[in-house]
């Protein structure tokens, strides 16, 4: 009897802890969503409400009235967030494979150099990169973000970790069948890398979608801005003082990443498990 009581008390504590954690983590998002449906008067009132009295779609209609502004940010964000992960994977996958499995001179030096770039603050390289991008004529052009986003030390590191877990017998079998290193990579190893490719595509999409610093420096015209920078000026761009418009814009920005997250959630977790992230 006593044991049963203790058991239920324990379960209750667990449930309570869960509720507290979920509330803390979800409240800001709930607040964003609810505020986007409030009227400006209700938003501004001194005693806060936790649920809108009357649902107002003014915030959203203000955005759709001038959809070219928000749509422009949105389109630019989609463009870079799709292009960068694909190009980054295409460039980093063979490099990571070579660093994990092929033997050539300076291999370790190259890997250490690549990794140490994780420690170089983005604010350091941005001054020179700004000049380079200006010389290429890509200022105020989203393609600047594509160029700057292709190399990623984290991506290389994760991929290299993954390749070093694959059994060597695979490539030896390929060699017996007459594959050279390139064919081995293309026909034997690359098809097996689906889990890590999936992880990288998701992580990179997410990273680029949310990137703020580089676009802030490179994109000064409203036409060229991606969402994270665009959102900081959207009230001015829409000529409004209404904070519910901002909340509506923020909510709409979250939708694509949340869809990607919930659709690919299991792939992401499985991929991280396979990679076995550790030092």
């Amino acid at each position: 009897m006593k044991r049963k009581v203790l058991h239920y008390a324990g379960r209750t504590v667990v449930v309570l802890v869960c509720i507290v954690i979920c509330t803390l983590m979800l409240f800001p998002l709930y607040y964003m969503l609810m505020s986007s449906f409030k009227t400006m008067e209700e938003y501004m009132q001194a005693v806060p409400t936790f649920f809108p009295h009357a649902f107002s779609f003014k915030g959203y209609s203000a955005i759709f009235e001038k959809i070219d502004v928000f749509g422009g940010f949105f389109g630019n964000s989609i463009y870079v967030s799709v292009l960068v992960p694909i190009l980054q994977t295409a460039v980093c996958l063979p490099a990571a494979y070579a660093l994990a499995r092929l033997r050539f001179r300076f291999r370790n030096l190259i890997f250490v150099l690549f990794l140490s770039s994780m420690m170089i603050p983005g604010q350091l390289t941005i001054i020179q990169n700004y000049n380079t991008i200006a010389k290429l004529g890509l200022l105020n052009n989203v393609n600047s973000l594509v160029l700057l986003g292709i190399f990623s030390p984290l991506c290389l590191y994760l991929m290299k970790q993954f390749f070093s877990t694959l059994p060597r017998e695979l490539e030896e079998a390929g060699k017996i069948d007459g594959c050279n290193a390139l064919q081995n990579f293309l026909y034997v190893v690359a098809p097996l890398s689906a889990p890590i490719i999936a992880v990288n595509l998701i992580l990179c999409f997410n990273g680029v979608w949310g990137d703020f610093f580089t676009p802030m420096i490179m994109l000064k015209t409203q036409r060229s801005m991606t969402l994270p920078v665009g959102l900081t000026v959207i009230m001015g761009a829409l000529r409004t003082q209404d904070p519910t418009v901002l909340m509506a814009a923020l909510t709409m920005t979250c939708i694509p990443v949340l869809i990607v997250f919930f659709v690919f959630r299991n792939k992401l977790i499985a991929g991280i498990a396979v990679t076995g992230i550790k030092m």
Binding site: L24, Q128, M247
Partner: protein, 302 residues
């Protein structure tokens, strides 16, 4: 290179594999970094075609700058608290969800709610918190008013603002640390826990003696990534308090940005960036090597 008789086989095609990545690395990381280090010895305003060689003047200026001490203190405070909170809470929560939360639904809810802020762009999180922190219309002061406490200047009070940003950073970042530790804990062989159960080891004891040593390598990785990102924190500071405190330099990478793009003192900014680079490198090496010295078990894999 090694034994003279047994010629080592080289896969020279490896260079071809690495080449594209190396070109991008050289163009946008290596060369800019080296050029910026060189700028530390010059006086340059970002625009004019001439730059003046000033030797170690910029370094001397930094060591004489009293605000730099404040900035270092602020950055250290921010980094210590956020790293400990993100890694510590992340691992504890992961252990909690893995061992105490029963049922697929419960685990799904916990995982999703902890992980959701990670996928949401930092600028969205910051702008939402900005509104929540608002002294007049923000919900936090609204709640305080309901219970009869004086409103707090979450972002306007210089003594509070750093803590407000710490909360944002932990909120945004904890999911990553939680998820990576969760996956690592689930990968620990079940048999270890079953054996411990038979021996009568309590849950906390199992966590301390089995889980922690088993996921040691993962924790080192988490500490290093947490440190690198926390020490260079920039986005929330820029969006939340840009220009609000005049010359108050909050953290080191914000100071770097301010010197380079606001005061256009590129040489001085380069010195700051060298300091950031050296500190991050030293701390990363320390965190990487320390556990190797302390822990010499086979559970720890390099």
């Amino acid at each position: 290179m090694a034994a003279p008789k047994k010629r080592k086989r080289y896969d020279n095609i490896g260079y071809l594999f690495v080449l594209p990545a190396f070109l991008f690395f050289a163009a946008f990381v290596l060369v800019p970094a080296v050029l910026t280090f060189r700028l530390a010895f010059y006086d340059w305003d970002l625009l004019s075609p001439n730059m003046e060689f000033v030797g170690f003047d910029n370094f001397v200026k930094l060591f004489r700058d009293e605000q730099f001490t404040t900035v270092l203190g602020n950055t250290a405070y921010f980094t210590v608290i956020t790293v400990l909170a993100k890694v510590g809470l992340g691992v504890l929560l992961a252990n909690f969800v893995a061992t105490r939360v029963k049922g697929k639904v419960g685990q799904f809810i916990m995982e999703s709610s902890l992980f959701m802020p990670i996928v949401i762009p930092m600028s969205v999180v910051v702008l939402v918190f900005n509104k929540m922190y608002d002294t007049e219309f923000g919900i936090l002061n609204g709640i305080l008013r309901l219970v009869g406490i004086d409103p707090v200047g979450w972002l306007s009070d210089p003594d509070v603002v750093l803590n407000s940003i710490i909360v944002v950073d932990i909120f945004k970042g904890i999911g990553f640390f939680f998820l990576i530790s969760l996956v690592a804990i689930r990968n620990v062989p079940k048999a270890y826990f079953e054996a411990a159960e038979i021996d009568g080891a309590s849950k906390p004891r199992q966590f301390w003696s089995i889980t922690l040593p088993q996921i040691g390598g993962t924790i080192v990785f988490l500490f290093i990534t947490a440190f690198i990102s926390s020490f260079q924190i920039f986005d929330p500071i820029y969006i939340m308090i840009n220009g609000m405190f005049g010359d108050t330099k909050i953290t080191i990478s914000y100071m770097l940005w301010q010197q380079a793009f606001f005061y256009r003192d590129v040489g001085y900014a380069s010195v700051v960036s060298i300091v950031i680079f050296l500190i991050v490198m030293a701390m990363t090496l320390l965190q990487f090597l320390l556990p190797k010295v302390l822990v010499e078990g086979d559970a720890y894999e390099a």
